[in-house]
């Protein structure tokens, strides 16, 4: 456990070093104040974090977490049930096929008008995006469960609820985690867009505001904050998956 943690830490430090060196070289090559080197940017991040950055980081984190939680809680049960019930699926599948490919982000203006410039519109938009990605994944994954696994549990006398608890949910969990990790990346990106367009809170606002004031160090402090938010979410999912899907890491 500690061994793998150290290895992970060393890996992260190595990767961070490569990125920082690359960043520095790129900054020298470009030679523009819009791309400061990592040292001034990190210094700006540290100084502004304590003063004006952290409330923005907090509201961004709150929005994206709420949206991911809401999208997951709504989409996963629905997707799993649809995948296991051909009759319900026959009704829902055309709806999903028509709505899934529509980029939800285009509804941003509509949501802003209807729900205001505050948290609600942003959370609803990101929830929509996470919802559809997870719905499609959960549905497909639960359709792909080998009938034999279900039959084996049914032969033990399991009812529908038991089949979901012992087979459908655990069997699809790895796929759901993969979709969540991909969805988290999209969610942070859309969060930036929504915050940069409307409202006066959040990292998206902070970045665009600093840009407008030509305060490039502050702008980079915001960018670093957004990157850290994405990394933290990704790592949290990685951690949860390692705990909940231990079986995928054995015997290989």
């Amino acid at each position: 456990m500690t061994g793998s943690l150290t290895r992970k830490l060393v890996g992260y430090l190595g990767a961070a070093l490569v990125l920082l060196v690359g960043w520095q070289l790129l900054s020298w090559a470009v030679g523009s104040p819009a791309l400061p080197g990592p040292l001034p940017a990190l210094a700006a991040f540290v100084t502004s974090f304590a003063t004006d950055l952290w409330p923005h980081l907090l509201s961004s984190a709150r929005r994206v977490l709420a949206a991911i939680a809401l999208g997951t809680v709504l989409a996963v049960p629905l997707g799993l049930v649809l995948g296991r019930s051909p009759r319900l699926d026959a009704v829902a599948a055309p709806m999903i096929f028509l709505t899934y490919p529509v980029p939800k982000v285009v509804f941003l203006p509509v949501l802003l008008i209807l729900l205001g410039l505050g948290d609600t519109s942003k959370i609803v938009l990101i929830t929509l995006i996470v919802f559809f990605q997870l719905l499609v994944t959960a549905r497909d994954a639960s359709r792909a469960i080998p009938p034999g696994s279900v039959l084996s549990v049914r032969s033990l006398g399991a009812g529908r609820a038991d089949v979901f608890r012992h087979v459908v949910f655990p069997a699809t969990l790895p796929d759901i985690f993969t979709a969540l990790r991909i969805g988290t990346g999209t969610a942070v990106a859309v969060l930036f867009l929504a915050e940069s367009i409307a409202g006066r809170t959040g990292l998206g606002y902070y970045i665009v505001d600093a840009w407008g004031r030509l305060s490039y160090d502050a702008m980079f402090a915001g960018i670093i904050g957004m990157a850290l938010l994405g990394v933290a979410l990704y790592e949290a999912l990685e951690f949860a998956e390692a705990r909940m899907c231990r079986w995928t890491r054995v015997g290989r």
Binding site: S152, S155, L156, G157, L173, G251
Partner: protein, 263 residues
């Protein structure tokens, strides 16, 4: 009481590519505590027979009864064991062994106690925290057996449980199956591709005809279960008899061809 009675059972699969009659008026009676083996070519309806007996399918005609009661769904003390899929890869060995009891709402303490006892009985006591993916094929089938034992099953339905194992492991598991039967005297229906396995583990061996399945012939094998039976001339005679029967049914062209891979 867990005798199995199949009275003129037929079953037809309704598929996209048309209907397949898997069983056609099959008659079969297995006495309480009797171990039988069922052998026949691929596709003759052996698996279908077990699914009917387990209550997972209902016959389109005829009747299936266990212990004198018509089968209407999964029964509390029937265990079905098959080659793949029986184990859940996301559950530990202990949780897999206890799964049947959990589904039956047996309390946690009793459940784990019974599961541990049956794991010890099949020699998996030290592996309770492992996952099925970490076990060898033979150990996985031991685990499937442990689950049946934890249920205190009085009817064991086994669908080619050992056909994916190498020869040595297979003999080990055959010995374990025999030992358990000698101790517990449960009713046992073993579907197998192997002539030797059928004669080693079946007090009667039923031969099914190719599609649709009907019981074509059977041989009596009264000395099954005696110590060292596998090395007696009588054992070889029974195997030869069975091989000729199968050849006569057109199931094989003679020789050990039946002893092929899984269907």
């Amino acid at each position: 009481m867990a005798g199995l009675e199949v009275r003129g059972a037929s079953f037809t699969y309704r598929g996209v590519g048309g209907d397949v009659a898997a069983l056609d008026g099959l008659h079969l009676a297995v006495a309480d505590g009797e171990p039988i083996a069922v052998i026949g070519p691929s596709g003759c309806g052996k698996s279908t027979l077990l699914l009917l007996a387990a209550g997972l399918l209902s016959p389109s005609q005829g009747e299936v009864a266990v212990g004198g009661t018509p089968v209407a769904g999964p029964r509390l003390t029937t265990a079905l064991i098959w080659q793949d899929f029986g184990l859940l890869p996301w559950k530990t060995v202990l949780a897999n062994a206890a799964l049947g009891l959990q589904v039956r709402r047996i309390g946690r303490v009793e459940r784990l106690e019974r599961a541990r006892a049956s794991l010890a009985r099949v020699g998996l006591g030290e592996f309770e925290d492992a996952y099925p993916g970490e076990l060898s094929g033979g150990m996985r089938q031991r685990l499937a057996l442990a689950r049946a034992l934890a249920l205190e099953a009085d009817l064991l339905l086994m669908d080619e449980p050992l056909s994916a194992l190498d020869a040595l492991t297979r003999e080990d598991l055959q010995d374990l199956l025999l030992e358990l039967w000698l101790q517990r005297r449960h009713t046992s229906v073993l579907v197998t591709h192997s002539i030797e396995e059928a004669v080693y583990l079946g007090r009667r061996v039923i031969v099914l005809t190719p599609r649709p399945g009907r019981a074509a012939a059977e041989i009596d094998n009264p000395r099954m279960g005696e110590p060292g039976y596998r090395d007696t001339p009588e054992f070889y005679e029974r195997c030869a008899e069975l091989r000729h029967l199968l050849a006569a049914e057109g199931a094989v062209g003679g020789g050990p061809a039946v002893d092929g891979g899984p269907s």
